[in-house]
């Protein structure tokens, strides 16, 4: 399947302006350089929800700003729906809808409908279609009942939903969302996530690039994620692939009754917790190996009943922390893409 977003060797170095005191102390001193992106390579496939994770200052916002034409890269390039963001910026922006978490990005004294009409014209929606398109989108994001109320009267959830509607005005193939649920209560955040996954992605086939700090959100929504830290992509792939990379062994918790002492070669018992009439065992074995099958076979062979069997996953937070703590080496190439 074609890539909706292609990022190749993307580098961005900001040159910090020198303060007056620095200029006075060292008139000919060099300006400080800050590398926001260091040779990023990334492909977002058509129709997927791709999560961009990373701590503050990792380079996520710079990447989004380059894709939306607000920042020029120092080296490398990026394409959105086949359009070079640097040399065909207008066409690239015509294929992308940007949802910011910034509530102030609307005209507060204008109504939601008036705001959408204004941004619709800037997004090249034909005049004769504009009214209908705005109504469709307001219905879709469920703000129609407040369409003619001033934007300043909207709740945070409604403001964010209107931001989604605005990004969809020109029916872009790609939706870029920068922490869309940051200021929302849990219910409004869930509502927005459902809209993104069920309506925009699954029903309308939009590709979504989602920058978020919310790991649960990334896990529940995204087909693949990239974990960024200190200007580089540290991990890239599905959540399961990244977990596997961080933790080559699989762990299971199995409750058996009565208790028994296994001694298989294909698995290792990390912990045994005795319980009423049985025991809960924590097992570890090679990912993709026969460890679980062998254990269950051993247990059944010893006339034990299997009361419960639960997979213990490495929490995404731990995966994230490990990726963020990685030393400066490129993301492991190929295998996870």
């Amino acid at each position: 399947m074609a890539d909706a977003i292609e990022v190749e060797h993307l580098t961005k170095v900001y040159v910090k302006k020198r303060s007056l005191s620095q200029i006075i102390r060292r008139p000919f001193g060099a300006s400080e350089r800050v590398t926001a992106l260091a040779g990023i390579d990334l492909q977002v496939r058509e129709g997927e929800i791709f999560g961009l994770l990373g701590p503050n200052g990792a380079g996520k916002t710079t990447l989004l700003k380059i894709l939306t034409g607000l920042v020029v890269p120092t080296q490398g390039g990026a394409r959105v729906a086949g359009h070079d963001v640097l040399h065909a910026g207008v066409a690239a922006r015509g294929s992308i809808g940007f949802v910011t978490s910034e509530e102030r990005s609307f005209y507060w004294r204008l109504s939601g409908r008036e705001n959408l009409h204004f941004f619709g014209r800037l997004s090249n929606v034909p005049g004769r279609r504009l009214r209908q398109r705005c109504q469709e989108l307001m219905d879709q994001v469920e703000v129609s009942a407040f369409a003619d109320r001033p934007f300043m009267d909207y709740s945070s959830g409604m403001k964010q939903r209107l931001a989604v509607a605005r990004a969809l005005l020109h029916d872009p193939r790609v939706l870029v969302m920068d922490e869309p649920t940051r200021s929302l209560d849990p219910s409004a955040a869930r509502h927005l996530r459902t809209l993104v996954r069920d309506v925009l992605n699954r029903r309308q086939g939009k590709t979504v690039l989602l920058a978020t700090h919310n790991l649960d959100e990334a896990e529940s929504l995204c087909n693949r994620i990239a974990i960024m830290s200190r200007a580089r992509v540290r991990r890239l792939g599905t959540v399961a692939e990244i977990r596997a990379l961080e933790s080559p062994k699989e762990r299971y918790r199995v409750e058996v009754a009565p208790a028994f002492t296994p001694h298989g070669q294909a698995y290792r018992v990390l912990e045994t917790v005795p319980g009423p009439g049985g025991a809960a065992l924590t097992l570890e074995f090679d990912r993709g190996g026969e460890g679980l099958t062998r254990f269950l076979s051993d247990a059944l062979g010893a006339s034990c009943r299997i009361i419960a069997c639960e997979r213990l996953q490495l929490p995404l937070q731990e995966v994230f922390d490990r990726a963020v703590a990685m030393e400066d080496e490129p993301a492991r190439p190929g295998s996870l893409r």
């Binding site: 961005k12 900001y14 040159v15 710079t62 700003k65 939306t68 034409g69 607000l70 920042v71 020029v72 207008v90 066409a91 922006r93 015509g94 992308i96 940007f98 910011t100 910034e102 102030r104 990005s105 609307f106 005209y107 507060w108 004294r109 204008l110 008036e114 009409h117 204004f118 941004f119 014209r121 800037l122 997004s123 090249n124 005049g127 605005r166 020109h170």
Partner: protein
């Protein structure tokens, strides 16, 4: 073309809705202009006896002289303040980023934001000229506008707005670059008010200052417009001012656009386009 007009209309309508939502402020700006005209009407009556009409404006009163000068000085103020003020306001309100990520060119986003200001300035100029004429008529005096000068006036107006826009775009470039402290705005505003012949004849200044004032587009704009409106001058009679304004426009508009493109490019490299 339709798309361009549609976008310009969108900017105009957005600003109209925003402006009329502050009803008192909207009305007070016209009242302020009327008060200014009234103040100058009485100052003009006071100094009337010591005012010598310029040779090219025979019989023109000081009030008529100031009224036209003040009215068209509005255009310069509008161009100098509206480009930079609009950018700054959009940066502060966070709407600049939202506009710049749409498939509309950044230059159109910024230039389009001034459509309302230009049209409102035209309306304000009409209010100033109209209220001044009515006020003079109420006191048994006349401003003495001549219909025969209208073709020359319209041509002068187009070139004046074009030349002033060049200065405004240059000012906008500095706003994008420096964020605050745009030197073009400070210099041109102060120099134009002091030396451009808004409130007094340029000829009363020393010769070297007159030479400096000739480097300002407003000097030529006001001289030509006064001659057209108050003395009924034809296009041939204001040809020198038309030529000077055309030259200013030919230099300032491309110069402003180049500076603006460079400032945008620099801001995108620095990542400071939406910073303030």
């Amino acid at each position: 073309m339709n798309r361009l007009l549609s976008k310009l209309w969108a900017f105009f309508y957005r600003d109209f809705l925003d402006e009329v939502s502050y009803r008192t402020s909207f009305l007070l700006q016209f009242f302020g202009s009327f008060l200014f005209v009234t103040t100058w009407f009485f100052i003009a009556r006071w100094v009337a006896k010591s005012f010598d009409a310029p040779p090219d404006l025979p019989g023109v009163t000081y009030f008529a002289f100031v009224l036209v000068g003040f009215a068209f000085y509005q255009y310069l103020q509008a161009t100098l303040t509206s480009f930079s003020a609009k950018i700054r306001r959009e940066q502060l309100t966070g709407t600049l980023e939202a506009m710049l990520v749409t498939p509309t060119r950044a230059s159109l986003v910024i230039l389009g934001s001034t459509v309302w200001d230009f049209l409102m300035t035209t309306f304000r100029v009409a209010v100033i000229l109209g209220s001044g004429t009515l006020l003079a008529w109420g006191f048994g005096e006349r401003v003495g506008m001549r219909a025969s000068g209208i073709p020359a006036f319209l041509l002068l107006l187009v070139l004046t707005v074009t030349a002033f826009s060049g200065v405004g775009i240059l000012s906008a470039a500095f706003t994008i670059w420096l964020k605050r402290g745009d030197p073009v705005n400070y210099l041109i505003t102060a120099a134009s008010a002091a030396l451009g012949g808004v409130f007094f004849r340029v000829e009363v200044m020393p010769v070297w200052l007159q030479r400096v004032s000739n480097l300002l587009p407003i000097t030529h704009a006001l001289r030509g417009i006064r001659r057209a409106l108050l003395a009924g001058a034809g296009i041939g009679e204001v040809a020198r001012d038309l030529a000077a304004l055309a030259l200013f426009a030919a230099i300032l508009v491309p110069g402003g656009l180049i500076a603006f493109a460079l400032a945008l490019r620099r801001a995108r490299v620095e990542g400071s386009l939406v910073q303030y």
